[in-house]
Amino acid sequence: MLTVSSPLDACLLLLSAWGLIGVAGLVRPGSVVFVARVLFPAGALIGAAIALVAAVSIGSAPERMILPVGLPDLPMHLRRDALSCVFLFLLGAASTGISIFAAGYFRRGQGTPPGLLCLQYHLFLASMGFVLLADDAYAFMVAWETMALSSYFLVTAQHGIPDIRRAGFLYLLIAHVGAIAILLSFGVMQGGSWQFTFDAMRDAELDSNWATIAFLLALFGFGAKAGLVPLHVWLPEAHPAAPSPVSALMSGVMLKTAVYGVLRVTFDLLDGAQWWWGLIPLSLGLFSAVYGAVFAAVQTDMKRLLAWSSIENIGIIFTALGLAIVFQGVGMHALAALALVALLYHCLNHAFIKSLLFLGTGAVLHATGERNLGRLGGLIQRMPWVAWLMLVGTLAMAGLPPLNGFVSEWLLLQSFLFAHEVPKSFVNMLLPMGAALVALSAALAGYVMVKFYGVVFLGQPREQALSHAHDAGFLERAGLVWLAVGCIALGLFPTHVIASLQAATLQLTGYALPASEAPWWLLFPLPERQASYSAPIFLLAVLAVVILTAAVVRFLYHGRIRRAPPWDCGFARTDARMQDSAEGFGQPIRHIFQAFFAMDRELPSPTDTAPRYSVTVRDRVWRGLYEPLGTVVQRIADSVAWLQQGRISSYLLYSFITLIALLALVL
């Protein structure tokens, strides 16, 4: 019998409860009422409990546990420390909102029955939790693979559609290529001790070349999961394919487990990181940030747009990671802590914001059956709840103060301000240039979010059918409210959040930001710097001016309003089709960043009687990297195909020869 005596016990119990809820879904797999109204809300409660446990215990000392399950002589080691607490909080808090929403979202339809979906969904959640708690390579890989597989099944919930099967396959493929790299990285890190516990890896003495190889393998493996360019191709395919709550979980939470993995390997398991390692994630991150934002701006599918925006944000996170490694490597520990705070903060922010946005698209999808931006519009009139809550997410994603997206961006830019002090010539001049790219991608994010929100929710409905759109149900609203409140709270109380994140930076870098004597509403990056930002004052001041102005105008003049048809500069005949389409709104970006895109354009000639214009924008990475790679793999596969005789006896022979060869090698 398990007794709950520590936070780790509690986490374990709660994660197992998720698993049990999943299994309970199989009791009545066809019953939407049972699954949606009982099991998903229970899962949401557990999520909240995990978030609570993680938040409370983040400051306490690390604790370990050995679970006697698994293969003989290979028990599972678990460990809860500050870093895992940060990500457990993220998992718990974001999944609470998503589960509440999902309770109202899943309906009877084609594809996977609800009970099975419930099992996959909660297995997915629990495995992400175990990834964060694992303290040996074996437990980690088991949890990691469970996570990949359960999410694969979730992505292909509508497996009747060929495109979705294809997206699922691509996701599974890249997830596994990544997993192999992670496994190899663990193999290098054990450093000849043949002990695969993380403790053994912490103690292993690796020479710097092997350490570099381990780092690069981990970066590749986790980067594939996170969607770092050029390993991002699965993201814009898998996210639109999955049901919205699953997209929210994958984008908001699962991508962060990859960030967790890189942090764990770089700052915890690998001793003595080299400063120049940081330049690799830094440059890849900056490239991903701009690339993702540019592609997000030209998308016409809501979820694809958000997926590309996730790539942008992962880019920003990896930029912060690179900066932290550089600072840590050259001994500027306080700055490394600052960059890490920016990183962890951005992870939290992105989890809340992107979950909110993905769930909002889910609500729109249910109400209208439409994912194409060009067929939406004016939904703020029909779905005020969803629209106003999405406005919070939109402004936060655009990185606008006083919401949360701005805080992490601000922290990152502040840490870039110190980059010129890195005592490496040449590099110290290039690093501050990164701030220019971060600023560019942040500004592009603003463009993307105005396009997203403006085309979907504002303006006039572009299709007749939209007049029947209905607002989200009670549970769906509740889920959205939870996440929106999270965005606002993370934006308004940054000092409290940072005080908690300090435990993790202290663990990873050995340093925390110097204690500040400022009041709670004032945020400083480092006290000796005169830079401050205060979200509460910011919000109060703008609100005060808004209310005061409105009151004064009303009092001094009048509040009379007449409604009339839109004027539109006197054009007599206007209709909804004359608004900007998604393609139209993306046109300037397509024009400016032409070099980024592979475009197929079909322009009408002046004499066409039925002119047609179409343009498809594709990712150059496909043609430049994946298609040649696919050809090579195909060729290799063809050349070894003669091995496949299709007779069991020959396969047994192969096994026998392999065994003999291995024995000869070992003996």
Partner: protein, 316 residues
């Protein structure tokens, strides 16, 4: 927070909000003179605002509450910006709420709300204006941020009053890096305030307008607030320029209480000069095609980055 600081803050805020339309009027006057026209009165912007406040608001049937909220948010953002930028004094209690980066964020918030409101009615011109505004914005914002970044590197802080104080207390002269960023900043100022060569505030020529296209559906008090906010934005931009590139004459920590009084005529003189300069630029340059705007702004961005590089290379 002393008595002195609060009075400085209040004086600066009131002066900015009250004098912003005057500055816009002054530029219009200079432009008219330069173009051999009879100038409208200096107080014309006030009359326009007053007239608009008296009118009944006509709002499109398709507009949502966001449309009515946006002018207030934009105005509020600009008032806060005017409170933060040290135009008269560097001892501003409000300034700790937002440093230079947050100020850029604040201006971006105003822009996003304006663009969303423009898309709200769902007309062809509204969304066209919003798209163009965001196109200008996404290039101008990083350029402005880089300008601020260079000044922050020089003075080792991102707090605007501290930057101003640091730069104001040095001998008369310009850092080479700041010279580059000054060019970038001027270009950003022109673009962000709907000035020639990017936009022309005096035109309703449909195919070229940006700012005007966004506010076509507004009338009465909402339009008045937007016009006021626009002049406030121009004022704030001018003051950002002064505090980065010509900070002399601002009341500082060491200046004593009297310096606040002397700072007023200094600011007026700077604004008069800057207004005349802006009018000159607008008169001698032609409006660019919209598709040339990205080039213009990209060069602003490049100038700012160049300034950063110069600072890192020369340390000055």
């Amino acid at each position: 927070m002393t008595h002195h600081e609060i009075s400085a803050q209040a004086l600066q805020l009131v002066a900015a909000v009250a004098a912003a339309p005057l500055f816009a009027g002054w530029i219009a006057m200079c432009r008219a003179w330069l173009q051999n026209r009879r100038a409208p009165g200096l107080l014309l912007p006030y009359r326009g605002i007053r007239k608009l406040f008296h009118k009944d608001a006509v709002i499109a049937e398709t507009a949502s509450p966001l449309f009515r909220l946006a002018p207030y948010v934009v105005f509020g953002a600009m008032v806060l910006a005017a409170a933060i930028v040290p135009s008269l004094s560097t001892r501003l209690p409000f300034a700790s709420a937002a440093d230079a980066i947050a100020l850029v964020g604040l201006l971006a918030t105003a822009r996003v709300f304006m663009s969303l409101a423009a898309m709200d009615v769902g007309t062809a011109f509204g969304s066209l204006g919003a798209r163009r505004e965001m196109m200008v914005g996404f290039l101008a914002e990083p350029a402005l941020l880089m300008v601020v970044f260079v000044a922050s590197l020089i003075s080792a802080t991102t707090a605007l009053p501290a930057i101003t104080e640091e730069l104001a207390t040095q001998h008369l002269g310009l850092y080479p890096s700041l010279a580059f960023t000054a060019v970038a900043f001027t270009m950003v100022l022109l673009a962000e305030n709907a000035r020639i060569p990017i936009d022309n505030p005096a035109t309703h020529l449909e195919l070229t307008m940006i700012h005007e296209a966004m506010i076509l559906e507004y009338s009465a008090r909402h339009l008045a607030l937007i016009e006021w906010a626009a002049s406030l934005k121009l004022f704030v931009y001018a003051c950002i320029g002064f505090s980065l590139f010509a900070p002399w004459g601002v009341a500082t920590e060491s200046g004593g209480p009297l310096s606040l009084l002397t700072s007023i005529p200094v600011l007026v003189a700077k604004l008069a000069l800057a207004g005349a300069g802006l009018a000159l630029i607008e008169t001698v340059s032609a409006k660019l095609r919209v598709f040339r705007a990205p080039e213009f702004l990209a060069s602003a961005f490049m100038f700012a980055v160049l300034g950063l590089l110069v600072h890192l290379l020369l340390g000055a």
